[in-house]
Amino acid sequence: MSVRRLPVYILADCSSSMAGDPIESVKQGIRSLRAELLGNPSAIETAHLSVITFDSGARQVTPLTELAGFTPPELAASGTTSFGGALKLLLNCMDREVKKGTPDQKGDWKPLVFILTDGQPTDQWQGVADDLKKRRPANIVAVACGNGADTTILKQVSETVLVMKQMSPNAFSQFFKWVSDSIAQESKKTGAADAGQPFKLPPPPPQITIAP
């Protein structure tokens, strides 16, 4: 018997357009997320965090790690937007790190994925987006930051697309508080849930809207 985890993947756009306040806000947001969740016993017991960054390439800067041992990574902004590479890496990481149910082992809880991006992809992304939609390996939330992100593209990888028009420190702070609430809500899930129904999120904060 092993512990069932709630895997949480954060995909952060670290392209050059995120330089300055935005990347600093993401770093601070991840630190606050960890601190917030450490006050929640069900999140401590189940939530495991991973951070994947993408700029001219994609990297898993933090492998899936239990909350108590999670160290917020240092992030820097530069380069282009390898969105497709990030999605491909996400799939590889989930294949490797997330346990599926078998007759002898309970699977992990369905992973949560949060994607933050402020720009257009600069690589091939359509094929891997199709793969994501077909496999539905996680509950994915995509957030279009600022005016440059294309919600049409994000809707190809997620049924839940949010828009954060202002990339202010306060907006990022609210967003990560909402991420924390979403993880806390998922970590409190007990027992059976309808496998065919979309997952329910807390209402987004005032500065973030649901893409029409």
Binding site: M1, R4, T190, G191, A192, A193, D194, A195, Q197
Partner: protein, 396 residues
């Protein structure tokens, strides 16, 4: 036929043709004569912690800090909204308790014990237990039921209670007039076909009843969704037989005379934890319950266990761990199961003078990430077979 609900409305005294309930609350004294359990030599009082040998030293233990974060809050909302009670009068006066347990007196060499405990996640949020259980008996027939409210359904706690009241009684009414020879067919195809039909009809009627309550109270049927574990036991001249089925997750296992265990039905499961595709009162439930029904001869069966997912998941796979679970319930707890953080040290709960509260205590085991409501119903042969009278190593 009897209601036999563990929390029957106050002021009503449901008849119990066979197996008078010894207790309806874990806080009341049992009247069931039980074989007393001896104390466990050297067992600590209170909890048994995995790997704990002495008082902690050094910096604060993060695990202890985590344990301290858990709250135990009373439920903030009423158990059942008035508009629902108005259309389901059987719930009028229902005395909800966070923990519930019941012992039925020996039924022709068998004993039935059930216990249900609110999970830590519900206690932390100040919400109700969503598991329910029931047992009804008539003559040589016993029907056991466990239902677990779906976490996403706002009135699932009510749905599980209504299902546990309605379904066993409806099923019992349909089979109680069968001639004994019908059951003495043993585990035959003809009996299986007949049982599948009556189970399907009984689940259909229960779904329709629940859906009507939902509609009349301005809710929708999905608000009352729950899983179902259903088992029937018949003692007959042609031999004992067990039938079992389920909708959703949880497990039904039987323990055999040779010390082995078998899982009787297949739970609904997906790639990830908690994924269920069919609940009661969904349209799929009657056919699902009928298709999954299995029938076994019971001559070499020593125990039947019905476990909601709150018990099944920590011990998964239960088919491999059911014997160890029963041995611990009978012989006592002196060390926790592997991977568990702690268990209450106690003599065998099934041999306790108050087995109801002893099993509720047993259900308080702590395993990381396993904080759901926990319900276990046991139908077991008395006296207990020697093969279960000693603890093996508590491995899982």
């Amino acid at each position: 036929m009897s209601d036999g609900s563990p929390n029957a409305p106050s002021g009503e005294a449901p008849s119990q043709p066979v197996g008078e309930p010894a207790e309806v609350s874990s806080s009341e004294a049992s009247t069931v004569p039980v074989e007393q359990a001896p104390p466990i030599p050297g067992a600590p009082r209170g909890g048994v912690n995995a790997g704990e040998a002495s008082a902690p030293v050094g910096p604060p233990d993060p695990e202890r800090q985590r344990s301290a974060l858990w709250k135990d809050l009373p439920a903030a909302d009423p158990w059942c909204p008035a508009e629902v009670v108005a259309h389901e009068p059987s719930l009028c006066g229902f005395d909800y308790q966070h923990n519930a347990a019941k012992v039925w007196t020996d039924v022709q060499g068998w004993r039935i014990v059930a216990a249900s405990r609110r999970g830590r996640n519900h206690a932390h949020r100040g919400t109700h237990r969503e598991d329910s259980f029931n047992c009804v008996t008539a003559g040589d027939l016993t029907i056991l039921c466990v239902a677990d409210g779906a976490g996403s359904a706002k009135l699932s706690r009510v749905g599980s209670e209504v299902v546990c009241r309605e379904l066993p009684s409806r099923l019992l009414a349909k089979v109680s007039n069968w001639i004994p020879e019908a059951w003495s067919l043993g585990a035959s195809d003809e009996l299986l076909t007949r049982l599948r039909h009556v189970v399907k009809v009984s689940v259909e009627e229960t779904c329709a009843h629940l859906s009507a309550v939902a509609t009349q109270s301005n809710n929708v049927p999905k608000d009352f969704r729950c899983t179902l574990l259903l088992a029937a036991f018949h003692r007959g001249v042609g031999g004992d037989c067990f039938a079992a089925t389920q909708v959703g997750d949880g497990t039904i296992c039987q323990l055999l005379r040779n010390g082995e265990a078998e899982q009787l039905t297949e739970p609904d499961s997906g790639d990830f934890s908690g994924e269920v595709t069919c609940f009661v009162p969904d349209a799929c439930a009657p056919e699902n319950a009928a298709e999954k029904l299995t029938l076994r001869r019971g001559d070499n069966v020593e125990c039947l266990l019905l476990c909601s997912d709150g018990v099944d998941d920590p011990f998964f796979p239960m088919r491999r761990n059911a014997v160890a679970v029963f041995r611990q319930l009978y012989n006592g707890v002196n060390e926790p199961f592997a991977d568990f953080e702690s268990q209450t040290a106690q003599p065998g709960p099934l041999r306790d003078a108050e087995p109801q509260s002893a099993i509720v205590d047993w259900l308080s085991f702590v395993k990381r990430g396993e904080n759901d409501d926990r319900t276990i119903v046991l139908l077991y042969r008395v006296p207990v077979n020697d093969v279960f009278r000693q603890n093996g190593p508590p491995e899982c």
